[in-house]
């Protein structure tokens, strides 16, 4: 068993007059399979990066491209999110439905990791 510590920091000096500056962290027990930090070239065709063989997991995604967006679907055809250039996501995933990635155009690279609890 391993301990995973994700931390998010959000900050802004002008979102509101009340400065936005906070961090949230968590401590997660990872006991099953792990896809360590990986980087893969996408095309406009679907590529399953998270198969349904996983159970309760935590997913990290980052679009490493400077211009091209990456689409993420949970089960083929259900649009979940679009990672614009440089954007990232971190979310819990049940593994009940696969995670599919494809580019909006071209061949951007997606960095990803999956941690099964």
């Amino acid at each position: 068993m391993a301990t995973l510590i994700p931390t998010l920091t959000l900050s802004s000096t002008d979102a509101t007059t009340d400065l936005l500056n906070f961090s949230i962290t968590d401590s997660l027990n990872i006991t099953q399979d792990v896809v360590g930090p990986s980087k893969i070239k996408l095309t406009t065709s679907d590529l399953e990066i998270g198969p349904t063989t996983y159970g309760k997991s935590y997913v990290y995604l980052k679009n490493t491209d400077d211009t091209i967006a990456i689409n993420i679907e949970i089960t083929d055809g259900n649009s979940a999110m679009q990672l614009a250039a440089g954007e990232f996501a971190f979310f819990p995933w049940t593994g009940a439905s696969g995670i599919v990635a494809f580019s909006a155009s071209g061949t951007p690279y997606l960095e990803y990791a999956i941690f099964e609890a």
Partner: protein, 144 residues
């Protein structure tokens, strides 16, 4: 409104001999452009178990076309740590994951149409959710 987000993911014991240390940064912008987002909504809400709730607006409640309505969503389950308390979250009718007490998530949400709404459903008892939504233009409903 320049808002930045940073994530770090660390582990000293996940992979023996190679400590995990991921860091990523991004500036929250409108979809496909470099302009800052205009609006922010945040709060803490208490949700009773067994009911599906919509978190955030529908696409038709936001101005602009799909290109302009990219949003970012942060959700933290503030419920006291208890493995039987969690919030199912998903988009429209697709359940994606379970946010257990103490867990958080951060996603760029593609609110492209009204069938892309964020749904949450507390389980196990009353859950307390902290959330923050950054987006472009939300249209307030007109008074009746």
């Amino acid at each position: 409104m320049a808002t930045t987000a940073q994530i770090t993911i660390t582990s000293a014991d996940l992979m023996p001999g190679s400590a995990l240390n991921i860091t990523a940064n991004t500036t929250l912008t409108k979809a496909g452009v470099t302009a800052d987002l205009d609006q922010k909504e945040s709060g803490v809400i208490k949700l009773v178990t067994g009911t599906e709730y919509r978190l955030g607006p529908l696409a038709t409640e936001m101005a602009g076309d799909a290109h302009d309505i990219a949003s970012y969503l942060y959700v933290h389950n503030k419920t006291t740590e208890d493995a039987t308390y969690y919030v199912d979250w998903g988009i429209h009718e697709t359940m994606i994951g379970r946010l257990y007490a103490g867990d958080w998530m951060f996603i760029p949400w593609n609110a492209s149409d009204n069938d892309a709404e964020i749904e949450i459903e507390p389980q196990g008892g009353t859950n307390i959710i902290e959330y923050c939504l950054f987006n472009s233009d939300v249209i307030l409903p007109t008074a009746g």
